[in-house]
Amino acid sequence: MSERDFSARSSNVTLIDLTKRFRSLDGSGEVLAVDDVNLEVKTGELVTILGPSGCGKTTTLRMIAGFEYPTSGSILIGDKDVAKIPPNKRGLSMVFQSYALFPHLSIYENVAYGLRVQKLPASEIRERTERALDLMQLTTMAKRYPSQVSGGQQQRIALARAIVIEPSVLLFDEPLSNLDAKLREYMRDELRKLQKRLGITSLYVTHDQSEAMAISDRVVIMKEGRIRQVGTPREIYAFPQSRFVADFMGKANFLEVEVLGIDGESARIDIGGKAFIVPRAGKVRPNSGSALLVVRPEALRLISLSNAENEIPLRGCIDRFTYFGNIARYEVSTENGPLLIESYNPEASSIFEEGDNVGVIIDFESVRLLPPENKEQQ
């Protein structure tokens, strides 16, 4: 009863210059759905493609599956180019957003389907199907039909059906989006545990950033067909390389600041006529002039104006205050624009009211400095 058996065929995936053009809806031109994507997913790794709808993430996944043909570029599974291999011969599996269970087949037959199609010996089909059902805790309901079980169970059937054929790569197309919030969190943890245990190379598409952070080894951020950044969840959140990534992954405030000089790793910047030190200058050059300061809401702190006024970089007025229990959220208008501020464990510090005039302190250890970018690059 070894779980390793399920992962025996896992291999890596390489996308080289992958491009997909569609005819645009009015038929006049073409739309670049996927634009020159390069990516390697290592054996046993779970990589998430994250992006807003229409960013090309699903198209990328469907090209790997073989349901769409790339306009140019290549897809390697292991070291084999799969361009000429039809989807049913690629040795992949996929978990679909709608689960796509066969409604006329029992749960047992759903799971056994891929093995039956391969015309394996009956004894092997039975043994492997039972093992997969057991692994997903579905044994007791094997005789039922998909419409007779709950959403979470349907999800597990879809997963059992996908892993039983021992795919070289497992593709996930927003598999949790049909579950309610609580079940979604539970299932994503289960899914991650299973994937780690079996070591199946997985490519996971989602638009939910917390899901991506929770399950991924690495996250790929896509927008308008292009990859914007690849990295571990921490790299993406803590070191965003563009305004778009910072904005899409979590919440962020953006402040236009003046760069006064670079001193080794750190930068001196000007906010509202006062100079401050940012410990990590990143890619900002001394001659950049202006730069974009990325500040997460939790990196800002409110103080009352009676405290040492000179060290307060920003001051403003509270427009809106929302109390969530674990977080207090403030929307503050300042001379540098509106700011979103989140205070964790709010009962431990003072709570401000709407209409209060406040000072805003920045935790410069955790802010990022980005070179100025033109609008089109965002």
């Binding site: 569609f22 049913n88 599996s93 269970l101 066969f102 006329h104 029992s106 391969q118 054929i165 197309d173």
Partner: protein
Amino acid sequence: MRENTRLSVAHLVRDPVLLFLVILVFVGLFLFIILPLGKIFAYSVTTNDGRLSFQAAWDMLRSRSYLAPLKNSMLLGITTGILATIIGYVFAYALTRVDMPLKRFFKAIATIPIISPPFILSLSMIFLFGRNGLITRRLLGIEDANVYGMHSLVVVQTISFFPIAYLTLTGTLSKLNPAVEDAALNLGASKARIFRTVTLPLSVPGILSSFLLVFIQSMEDFSNPAVISGSFSTLAVEAYRTITGMYDMRGGSLMALLLLIPTLIAFLLQKYWLSGKSFVTVTGKPTISQQQSKDPKLVWPLFALCMLISLVILLFYGTVLVGAFVKVWGINFSFTWAHFKYVMTLGWIPLRNSVVLALASTPIAGLLGMIIAFLVVRKEFPGRRAMEFISMLTFAVPGTVVGIGYILAFNDKPFMWTGSAFLLIMAFAFRNMPVGIEAGTSTLLQIDRSIEEASTILGATGAVTFRRISLPMLKQAFFSGLVYSFVRAMTAVSTVIFLISPRWNLATISIFSLFESSKYSDAAAYIIVMILFIIVAIGVLNLLVGLMGRGGPSTSGGSSERA
């Protein structure tokens, strides 16, 4: 554009089974739909010495002998369309929106005319209102009642075709989101006002749609006008008489063309104009079963109306049943088996032919319907839209037109098929597949495409996916396609009247000749036997389809919480 065409061609080449199916379907569509229609058109505008001339056609068209039937057919179609739609709406509204007793009975009554053989209502009309009619002669003592003419046709066609309106409008009314009516009620509107300002306007597309569908059926109808129209000539019958009586093939083709144009326009309006205007709200969310009105001021008048119509229908069918067992209707009402003996001896061979040919054509029509639906909904290939359009076209092309087209196309080399069982089977198959296509298409559109993709990525080829996943899910649609094709094949008159031969005579045509020689009770017995055959066949088909797929609750989609 070029990019996509190239890709879809590449797709075709990659999948030889798909390529083969697409080619097969196109060859079939060309041979049995496009070629015959093209022949009619070409023949109508060619002169005797083979020159192309629109002048001759135009001159013929202007003569009274062409205009009168056209006018009559249109008048009949519009009258029947309006009456059948009104009755259909009453039935549909009563059965979907009102809480009344005997609903199952009314539903059963409304399906009888759909599956019953031709001539039956005309026969009743003659039995009840003819010169020796039970009502006209016996009850009212009228000596010279004239049952023949437009008035009888309107009655007979309205009863025959109101089920089409009823089914169409049931679809519309039951899919209207009840929340819209609830909202109106909540805003303080009275029930009558809601009906007038919400329900009725929202069902306008359904009403127009059912009118057009009935109009097409009425224009196409051959069997009823052929026996009770009297001097009221309609296009479908005149075309037949012109060809068989006057041996005027060109005149017949022209009439066929005249018949084709309005039905085609009605069909295109129904399919492309109205389908875009549908107010039907399908959200995928389960709609709470709507409240049905219990208001006695609404329930009982509607109940009385439905009852009245149902009783009339029962009277008509009952009359034929009785008529089959009496010696001479109107003169000697004593019991006899003689007419059934006649059917089982002289009438046996045509009956057997009808069953054999219908059985042979049914699986072809059913499978063809599913394959075309599958190709059109699920696959990408050049000419997909054309395939969809041409295959649905047969629904709008009157049987008379098909029959004439087939004579023109298949009487000569290279296809000398007239009179053969093969051509009759093909005529049935291609004429009767649209219901299968329609049912298959709507089923497939409801089934998440990823269910088939799941099968593919698990390793199944296209053929395996079709057989093990798509076809079982299409079971219901496949069955309704089969039943419909079988019934239509058994009951066809207008197409086959041109295609039969001494070797392949058919039951419906035998009934027609019984009418011509006024052997009405023989015809009645014949019709009763046909009904029995149809009922048995539907039962057997039901059984076969049940065995075909493994059971299990069949629901669309895989998830119950799909957004």
